[in-house]
Amino acid sequence: MIRRTLLLVLIAGSMFAQVSFERILNAAKEPQNWLTYSGGVQSQRHTGLTQITPDNVKNLEQQWVFQARSLEKFEATPLVVDGVMYTVQAPNDIVALDAVSGRVYWVYAYIPSPAARPCCGMINRGLAILGDTLFMGTVDAHLIAVNAKSGRPIWDAKVANAESGYALTHAPLVVKDKVIVGTAGGEYGIRGFIAAYDVKTGKEAWRFYTIPGPGEPGNQTWAGDSWKTGGGSVWVTGSYDPELNLTYWGIGNPGPDWNGDSRPGDNLYSDSVVALDPDTGKLKWYYQFSPHDEFDYDSVQVPVLAEMQWKGSQRKVMMWANRNGMFYVIDRTSGEFLQGKPFAKVNWLTGFDEKGRPMRAPGKTPSTEGTLIYPGNQGATNWYSPSYSPRTGLFYIPTWENTSSIYFKSPVEYVEGRQYTGTFPRMTVSFRGNIQNQITEDEGYGAVHAMDPKTGERKWEFKMADVTESGILTTATDVLFVGGREGNFFALNARNGSMLWKAALGGIIANGTISYSVNGRQYIAVAAGNSLFTFALRQ
């Protein structure tokens, strides 16, 4: 009897192996798992699994479906650790499932405060794990630690005031012994920040305000007290380079969104990427994509890190497809701007100066009469995860092509806890999406754009009828997975964009596809509507 108990303990123990930070750093060595939001600290969203190929992908068949008890969009990217999947049922229920059968092991139900008021849905984009602890940000701006074996809470840290418009919607990032999150709420006149918490205790270790205070460099880019309500939210997970010991995060729009009169200046570090020391939170460098933004061009995209030959020398680069329609390559050691090329229709800039600062097109600002701007308010891309394949050398962008908005300027006044934006622009494509799609190419369409980072040129385009909020996954066999608002899920050839397979999943695909394997069988998991679907090759 004792022996049997011991055996059970050993089996159970092997099912829930500890996820050390060493394992997270070397996630590519265990492609059967998906250990971080973007699949690894470099955030390439590229799997090393090879069972599914361009030749056999047509034999994918559905394995199981998890139907979330939520009507919110399913934006969470799951984690998979040694056969156990962890995901989030919106707004903030953590669900642990058997990754083979989809059967639920446990649910940790978190009921957010009624004061929670995220601008754009009671959603969550996923989790982080370290050891046997899961971490989740909540829509009422708490950071929660939960035991991955039992689903029991360990600690609960209040990060900010939900009543003031703060929220946490992105998957946290673990770096060493800290878990890092940033605050959403850019439409509420918040002062955004990124903060690190001790993984064991939940105690705040450091805080980096995305808008510098008086006496700090960059505060002069805000007039008067406008820095106090300048937004600069953070709502997509950053990346980490262990050699440079830098963590990279994208910062959201300045507030008020569509009227910059009260905040003359560049409004640092809104619409920027910041490189921080993960031990101290100190800023090492920044690059601002859209100085003095009045178009809601959050730079809240996933920083994708890679090593590549750049004009004759090996460089550590960061690739970034921005909501403003430009595709950037940046030296991530120094923040040096290397290249910026449009990946969709753009009319707000004419080019870059020698330092990489965008040169604004004359007259392209919000006006009383309305000003037509490409890309539109939802951007040429947004928080949707791109993918980089080291095999093809291409960067793949979920794109809203040919979309525009008319921007109006009107007075706006700050009241704590209320939206602080200005007049909502007139968009050609619905912000939320409709149950039926009637938009045409003249108004915009969804696409995958495959870009060569070395030239900034587009190699191919895969068109959809409706726009897309889906992330992209590439595989080590050159298959690319992506979906769209129209509910179709596609497998494409990553080299030329040709369609290899499709499945009609019937709901908006608004998360990032992942791949994992259990017992030697490769799975693909993607959310559509309020359900999570998994596929594997027919046996």
């Binding site: 009383t368 309305g370 007075p411 007049t423 009637q438």
Partner: protein
């Protein structure tokens, strides 16, 4: 540019402001975002309150109306709103513009007579339906009075091509065999198109089509000269009365 000037009293809020058409459009959007959830698109959803006829029970002046929008009415369901003076003023300007536009037909028609015209002389049910009765070839009008105002409905009856809502556009497809089908576009994705025509809902594989695209012209006939002014007013009044299916 046409400028709508409203003589606003000399209060600190809106002292003699001229509202441009763009301001009023902003006011319209603010109304939709801020007010319409309770007051409805026509401003008459709250019992005993009608915002779009230029008369306000609790305020004699426009800046008084703007102040109510900003501060709310204590002891009622009307909450305060965090709007600037100009924003609140633009909402008032919008309400005034609606009242000024109206009058040509609204308020002069008879709903019952309009219903009879809709179902009889007008033959509207050939294409339209109301509360599950009629054809689905054209847009369902069950809640048309909640989303369109009388002047807009009158214009649509007299000049159907003048403004066609995006969701009501007509689509034309030509099959490989050369068959031409036109209908109301319901939906399209990468592979398929769904239309509604006289035969009912239809679906096409894009790969099987020679061509496809929108038709600029509306299939709806103009009622100019076909209905008398009174009949037109009756029909518009009936359409305005269609606010959707009310729960009991």
């Amino acid at each position: 540019m046409k400028v709508w000037t409203f003589a606003l009293s000399a209060g600190v809020l809106l002292a003699q402001h001229s509202f441009t058409r763009a301001d009023i459009e902003d006011g319209s959007r603010l109304y939709s975002n801020t007010c319409a959830a309770c007051h409805g698109a026509n401003g008459d959803r709250v019992s005993g309150v009608d915002l779009m006829h230029g008369r306000f029970r609790r305020a004699a002046t426009d800046d008084g109306v703007a102040a109510i929008i900003q501060k709310g009415i204590p002891g009622t369901a009307m909450p305060p709103h965090a709007l600037t003076d100009f924003q609140a003023g633009s909402i008032v300007a919008y309400l005034r513009s609606v009242a000024a536009e109206a009058g040509s037909v609204s308020g002069t028609g008879d709903v019952a007579r309009g219903k009879a015209i809709f179902e009889g002389k007008g033959a509207c049910q050939t294409c339209h339906s109301v509360r599950n009765s009629g054809s689905l070839v054209g847009p369902d009008l069950t809640d048309i009075g909640a989303i369109r105002r009388a002047p807009q409905l009158e214009r649509s009856l007299l000049d159907p091509d003048g403004e066609i809502l995006a969701q009501n556009r007509t689509y034309r497809v030509v099959t490989r065999e050369g068959t031409v089908i036109t209908g109301r576009l319901l939906n399209h994705d990468v592979f398929t198109i769904q239309l509604m025509d006289a035969q009912g809902p239809r679906s096409f594989q894009k790969a099987n089509l020679k061509e496809s695209g929108f038709v600029e012209k509306s299939p709806m006939p103009s009622y100019q000269g076909k209905l008398s002014a009174q009949e037109l007013a009756d029909l518009v009044s009936y359409l305005v009365s269609l606010k959707g299916i009310q729960t009991q």
